[in-house]
Symmetry: C2
Subunit: 597 residues, 2 copies
């Protein structure tokens, strides 16, 4: 909690948001009360179901999906405390809470149990789509019951024959005379798609209206409820059949359903916004969902870190190696936190998880500023958010997995056993590299769209942010070497981008994009180094000014972890650069036919 | 299979072993018959139980361990076909099969189902300990029934309070008047420790005889059977109680038992070899077991590679990006193997798995040469085997995990679902970094013992091997750049070692060893680059001489994969070197107190 508060209050100074008109009803104390009450709820209700939901996975029985009863409790309390519509406008039934605070609350609940907060979370996303792009009638009909947690929302994109390739979705929508549509098709991998604890499910479905153009330009977004609302307000079935639940390696408590729409030609849908603009609308939700998946990854890894830290502090085993190289077997065993290799694995986890949380909170704050900040700065914040979103989704997923892998390793054989929670965290986090666009898709988005967007404007604005951080860090002699190291890394990154752009400009677009995944590793390592420079500068400022909220060790621990990142993680960029600058191209099909002959 | 044969016959020329007196009854054709019949058995019996053993995990019920019935079948057929004692001397009931061929057969069975071959495998290890160090009486009493698969063997090292720290084991052995010992203590994590398909279990147990010195110098090795053999040959219980079975994330079909010896003071054990030399004996078995764990890792990753390759060839999704940067949605979807990022993930898997198998086979061949090669070369081969063992155990475990992670990613969301085998491979392989000495322990062994052993003699001999491979590769113009890159990497590795040795010589032993794990990554990457140089040279030779067993594409594919390794993997050594040469030390307890205050 202190780590989170440090990011919010000390590094980002989120209370500055309260000066904005939209957030004028809040102050720092309000934010802290929300954080504390959420922590309390997470400890009492959410965490206790963490292992149970894994042991009693969501499953399909007799046409129904069975989930853990805590899902009902969570939806109810999320409805009661207003968190489902937390960041919505007052007039839409929301609390106008800043996105960054909403993200902080999500971090707390997801750390407690990463399988549970998705149920209300997707309801938030679905309701927000209707609020943002739907007609007043759709809003009035669906949103109130969603915000109270009575009804659940989902997003239905994936089809069996078209996973990441949304161009190829085929779920059809045929206009009815009353303005609604007949919907027909199958959707898979629908998180929270059905269970007994919501009276209705409001599916937001990507469809193709008869005669629509091919590809993503012909996709429309529809509200397709499980039960239609009759004139008198009662519900009637809408021919949405639950066909199964995918059994997964992790997040087993979070149902992943297979839905069939209109098998009996009785499924009605209602268009959200304009026809053929569905993907654009969905991407508003998707961008939020990507930040949320990054948060889920970082939160799962944070929980794993604390579990492995506790074990390391309690478990006696072996002895420290003396400087003679000998071990004194007459000595008592040391707790394993005294072994340098264990400390390295703990520091790695701190570096990844705290750096990821800082990045995610920063991105969320950019979100607030892009929407409600000073008019003239909104575009800049929007650009920064767009550029950082694929990184904020991917780094916590990929390096969060590495982080948990190290946490598990600290427990030795016990880490592999179900008596300890590490193996569940290890399984759970693996989905984060797949949800809401795989790492490959995020990497194409980063290099192929975001880095080059508006002729590189977003990238230039990010580099300007880098420079500010370098200059702030350079105020402290202790931090100067790290500021210099970061500056060099930032320059190398830009040189790598220029090198890659040459391929695009020479018409070798496939080659330009071929190693996007390595580029993602490169750029995200630099971005995390930036976060750590900011965290260390913030800590150093508190130490130097004496304006300390926490202990001296707390701040020194931040600086130490920054040093870890700069010693162990940042040097990897040298390898990424070498790979990206390498003259051989080995993965274009024509060039590598022999490898899979 | 072709990949394996290429390593055995083309790269290592294992038939040269048949010139040695011990292996004179074999020829290349014999080896191939064994490979083929094992493949046939693996396909028919071992692979079909792969998923079943995961779905019906080994478990503890009413004092008994329930395992899949295929365990009985496997033990029986391993007894019948002689594979349990395959590499033993004829006079001990063995087949005098070369270790390298035995390893190749293990690779085949473990690729089919990594949870199953351990049952006979540990019986081999236990029987071999008795054969090597036990009295004739022990041999006569126990070994014949083990080699026929009637009885099973285990190795019992770990105790609850002493995981990796064998100095601290407390299982006691009190001398009886008849020369046997009363054994009392608990052992955990005993693979294959109990089930209904073996009539007896011959546990090889590390104990401490009353009054023995503290630490590892007071450890003795005992045979402690589940059932004692009476004068008339019948069996009677020996007070070995099965107290539980650990439930694990992966390898769920492979039981992991908790055994209690002598709870009712009725447990007898018999000393193997001399008192207080138990750890030395156990390490003979342990070294073999480490190679075997490496093999299990490489084999699991090999199976995962083939599953993901098949998927990538069959699954249509998306379209290739055109060089204009556009996508033509009117085009049919491409199979995903046409996406460069998917090819990269496939090549990564080839590079890791084929490189690992080459290393493991080479290490096994060194084993043969160390025991039965020309007298004057045995020490050199022994040194090389000792030096490479921690790498041959660790690289396939760690990078095999990365490899499978990429395989899973190729399947997208399906990779996370239990309908496809990738998620099981992903769970199964995680134990390899823990079995038989964690990666941390292997790394301490590599840097703290093996690199410095005999004043660096083994390391010098390895570098001499490197030089031979560089010179062989340099015969081909195409390979010269890679030979040069490898030469530079080898020099850097040596420079890093010299740098680290300075700490040891200055009395900073803890610092010398603190980043052993990073050193393991560094050195193993260089060692794999060496394997790939050899593989590519072998392939190139076949292409140039026209002496080809396989298609031209086969050989070109090897060279292409080598290029992948040299572009994408070998450059990582630059980062490892930077970390190891870094002037800051951050993980010694005194230096990093603040991080975990």
């Amino acid at each position: 909690m202190d780590d989170l508060r440090f990011v919010l209050h000390d590094m980002l100074q989120v209370e500055d948001l309260c000066a904005l008109d939209r957030y004028k009803d809040y102050d720092k104390a309000n934010f802290d009360i929300l954080l504390d009450s959420t922590k309390d709820y997470a400890d009492k209700v959410i965490y206790p179901s963490f292992k149970e939901m894994d042991e009693q996975p969501a499953r399909y029985e007799d046409g129904k999906i069975i989930v853990h009863p805590v899902v009902g409790e969570m939806m109810k309390s999320a409805g009661e405390n207003g968190s489902i519509g937390a960041f919505f406008d007052y007039e839409d039934g929301g609390m106008q809470l800043p996105h960054v605070v909403y993200s902080a609350l999500s971090h707390i609940t997801q750390s407690a149990n990463n399988s549970l907060p998705g149920y209300p979370g997707l309801t938030t996303g679905a309701a927000h789509l209707i609020v943002s792009f739907g007609s007043q009638e759709l809003k009035d009909k669906y949103v109130p019951n969603m915000l109270t947690g009575k009804w659940a929302g989902t997003m239905c994109l994936t089809e069996p024959q078209a996973g990441s390739s949304l161009s190829d979705i085929t779920t059809s929508a045929t206009p009815n005379e009353d303005g609604s549509y007949q919907v027909k098709g199958q959707k898979i991998f629908i998180s929270g798609g059905d269970h007994e604890y919501s009276d209705n499910f409001v599916h937001l479905v990507l469809t193709r209206i008869d005669g629509a153009p091919a590809g993503t330009k012909g996709i429309s977004l529809m509200v397709v409820p499980k039960f239609r609302i009759k004139e008198d307000g009662s519900l009637e079935p809408n021919d949405v059949i639950t066909a199964g639940d995918f059994q997964k390696m992790g997040q087993r408590g979070y149902c992943t359903t297979h839905l069939v729409f209109g098998e009996n030609d009785g499924c009605q849908g209602w268009l959200v916004g304009e026809a053929n603009r569905g993907l654009k609308y969905m991407f508003q939700m998707m961008n939020g969902a990507r930040i949320d998946v990054g948060l889920m990854g970082a939160s799962t890894a944070t929980a794993a870190y604390h579990a492995s830290l506790q074990y390391a502090k309690e478990r006696p085993q072996g002895r420290r190696i003396q400087n003679s190289g000998a071990k004194d077997v007459e000595q008592e065993q040391a707790t394993i936190i005294n072994h340098p290799d264990v400390r390295r694995m703990l520091l790695l986890q701190r570096a990844v998880t705290e750096g990821s949380i800082a990045l995610l909170m920063q991105a969320s704050m950019y979100h607030d500023m892009a929407l409600y900040g000073p008019e003239e700065e909104r575009t800049r914040y929007h650009n920064l958010l767009e550029l950082l979103t694929p990184i904020a989704k991917t780094y916590p997923a990929e390096m969060g997995r590495t982080s948990i892998n190290n946490g598990l390793q600290i427990l030795g054989g016990y880490g592999f056993c179900t008596d300890f929670p590490l193996e569940q965290y290890y399984r759970d986090i693996r989905i984060m590299s797949l949800y809401e666009g795989t790492t490959g898709i995020q990497s194409l988005d980063l290099l192929g769209r975001k880095v080059v967007m508006k002729n590189g404007e977003a990238m230039r604005q990010l580099v300007a942010e880098f420079k500010e951080s370098i200059s702030a860090a350079s105020n402290y002699d202790d931090l100067k070497p790290y500021a210099a190291q970061f500056k060099a890394a930032s320059k190398e990154l830009q040189a790598t981008i220029m090198h890659l752009l040459n391929y695009a400009m020479q018409g070798q677009y496939e080659r330009f994009i071929a190693d996007a995944n390595i580029f993602m590793e490169h750029m995200s390592t630099v971005v995390l180094a930036w976060q750590w420079l900011q965290l260390a500068t913030t800590a150093k400022t508190a130490l130097v000014t004496g304006n300390k909220t926490y202990s001296t060790e707390f701040y020194e621990g931040k600086i130490h972890t920054m040093r870890y990142f700069y010693k162990y993680e940042l040097p990897k960029t040298a390898a990424f650069k070498t790979i990206l600058m390498h003259e051989e191209s080995l993965t274009i099909p024509e060039e590598s036919k022999v490898a899979f002959a």
